[in-house]
């Protein structure tokens, strides 16, 4: 049903008719209300670029074996980061004076290479490439026993917003895969890197670095860790998320850690959102 207002605009009748979507009061009115989960039984797993992929077969083969075993029990979506070649891309791009949107546009190419390599290794066990345009085919892929492998970086491309600090895109592979997990209302979000979790310092450089099994975003920001394993923007995303309220960091060089993480056992470090937000509707399983 439509209606014409005194200003000559033709409206479709809805609760938001004539509403300014910018109004703070209006936005606050949308805070309440449940969000339904699209994929509450799916585990999102991020495979680090520099930390895992760049180590080649020695790191990847055992990890792939573990993923293949776990796939029998869990629905898994894999995302990959870029690593050394992304850093090289940034270095050349920055030297050429490219704006942040330009860097965001080109860096995905490296992650696509890593995605294709991981998919190659997983292909005999159902590994497939999983691209943006097939996002809504995910139920079919998972019910078919496949292991979708995607890039982590979100498709912001030249629309990458100007960063708070510096010249590099804030939204990298940590952020992108988290946003996918959050959209899906996923069962868990696990980051596989080359450390046992979050430490007070780089454990490879400082043997006195202390392991932190669990902390909130607020704690993490207050600690201002010299070598945070996560993108800074991931912390902000955890503060505003509604469905995925924690992530876990585990060591992909240690066989068995991923199995424990997916089983919900104590392993690695858990990073939790510190704001309390109304959680989404629990799924009627």
């Amino acid at each position: 049903m439509s209606t014409s207002d005194t200003k000559g605009r033709i409206h479709v009748k809805s609760d938001l008719m004539r509403e300014s979507l910018v109004s703070s009061a209006f936005n606050a009115s949308t805070e309440k209300g449940k969000i339904r989960r699209m994929a509450p039984d799916v585990h999102f797993i991020a495979v680090g670029g520099q930390s895992i992929m760049d180590r080649g077969s020695e790191a990847l083969f055992p990890l792939v074996d573990e993923i293949v075993r776990l796939k029998e029990k869990y629905k898994i979506v894999l995302g990959v980061g870029g690593g050394a070649r992304v850093r090289h891309t940034y270095a050349i791009g920055r030297d050429l004076g490219l704006p942040v949107g330009g860097l965001a546009r080109i860096m995905g190419g490296v992650e696509e290479q890593n995605r294709d390599m991981l998919q190659f290794l997983l292909a005999p066990h159902g590994g497939i490439t999983f691209v943006k345009d097939h996002f809504q085919d995910l139920p079919m892929f998972l019910n078919g026993g496949l292991i979708p492998v995607c890039i982590g970086q979100p498709p912001y491309h030249i629309w990458e917003p100007p960063p708070e600090k510096g010249f590099l895109p804030e939204n990298g592979s940590d952020v992108g895969l988290f946003l996918m997990a959050e959209l899906m209302g996923a069962a868990s979000m696990t980051y596989i890197k080359d450390v046992d979790g979050i430490f007070t310092d780089d454990p490879y450089k400082n043997s006195d670095a202390e392991f932190i099994p669990e902390l909130t975003v607020e704690d993490m920001k207050a600690r201002n860790l010299p070598d945070s394993p996560f993108e800074a923007e991931l912390l902000n995303c955890l503060e505003t998320s509604r469905l995925v309220r924690e992530v876990r960091l585990i060591n992909g060089l240690e066989p068995g850690q991923l199995a424990k993480a997916l089983a919900g056992e104590d392993v690695g470090s858990r990073l939790k959102g510190s704001r309390s937000r109304e959680l989404g509707e629990e799924n009627n399983e």
Binding site: R18, D54, Y90, D95, G97, P99, Y156, P161, D196
Partner: protein, 277 residues
């Protein structure tokens, strides 16, 4: 950590100032670079036609604007036209909120309406070279512009499923005002003009509050700090302006007033300007 660290495979030849750094520490590899960035399309204007404010009024509002756009094009003024959503987008958002869609899914469904509006404008201006430029076509924009075409884009940024949950509420914060602003910022465009149905930014929504007064030469930093409930452009645009390299001001013209848009494109002092700081 019990095991010895497995060595990375050779990265020789790839060494660079960011080598081996974590994502966070890469920021410290910055100083050696030039602190400016290039402008990609510095002689092109980014314009945005409002959805609710212009498109939903139909012929009466749209035809005169098209006339001015085509006049500007004949005068050799280059521009990319972004388009908003409007009342159908609002209907879809209202439904989406009601059925419990997450923010990213709301952004995804919100993206369809500006494309409808863009296609309507393309049909109306096809005879003068109007062409739809989708998100993945942007590298072809120089071709379109140099061959005398008039590229029309959806204002929505391609974030869609990757739109972040906002601090408050569930609505996607990056909608069509933000999308065209980010285009302008990336291109280092000649200017960013929003074509709306008001003379500019008021102290409140002038359609609802008769006491609202027009703010001439507003500044985005003060606006964000003011606690004002409503703005004529999306809040994130004002935030992005604070850290932008190129687009430090935006202009709002009243598309319902004949001649304003063309005058603005000719560099005349019409409409209102919002500056970053």
């Amino acid at each position: 950590m019990s095991k010895k660290k497995i060595e990375k495979i050779s990265t020789s030849g790839l060494e660079n100032p960011f080598s081996g750094m974590t994502n966070n520490s890469m920021l410290s590899g910055e100083e050696q670079y030039d602190q400016t960035t290039v402008k990609i399309l510095p002689d092109v204007w980014i314009l945005k036609i409002g959805g609710q404010s212009i498109m939903d009024r139909g012929r009466k509002a749209v035809y005169p604007i098209i006339e001015e756009l085509l006049q500007a094009k004949k005068q050799g003024i280059k521009f990319i036209l972004g388009v908003g959503g409007g009342t159908r987008a609002r209907h879809a958002y209202a439904m989406g909120l009601d059925i419990g869609l997450p923010t990213g899914a709301l952004a995804k469904i919100g993206a369809s309406i500006p494309i409808q509006n863009g296609r309507m404008l393309q049909m109306l201006m096809a005879h003068e070279g109007a062409i739809m430029a989708y998100h993945d076509d942007f590298e072809k924009l120089p071709l379109y512009l140099n061959t005398g075409c008039l590229p029309i884009m959806s204002g929505m940024p391609p974030f869609e499923f990757w739109e972040k949950s906002p601090m408050v509420g569930r609505m996607p914060q990056n909608r069509t005002d933000a999308g065209v602003y980010l285009l302008s910022e990336f291109f280092g465009a000649k200017g960013m003009i929003y074509i709306k149905d008001e003379d500019g930014l008021y102290t409140a929504d002038p359609k609802k509050d008769p006491t609202a007064t027009l703010l001439e030469n507003a500044n985005a930093k003060d606006l964000l700090a003011s606690g004002q409930d409503d703005f004529i452009v999306e809040r994130v645009v004002l935030e992005y302006m604070q850290r932008a390299h190129h687009t430090h001001e935006i202009k709002i013209v009243n598309g319902m007033k004949k001649g304003q848009l063309l005058s603005a494109l000719q560099g005349k002092d019409v409409g209102t300007v919002i500056r970053a700081k």
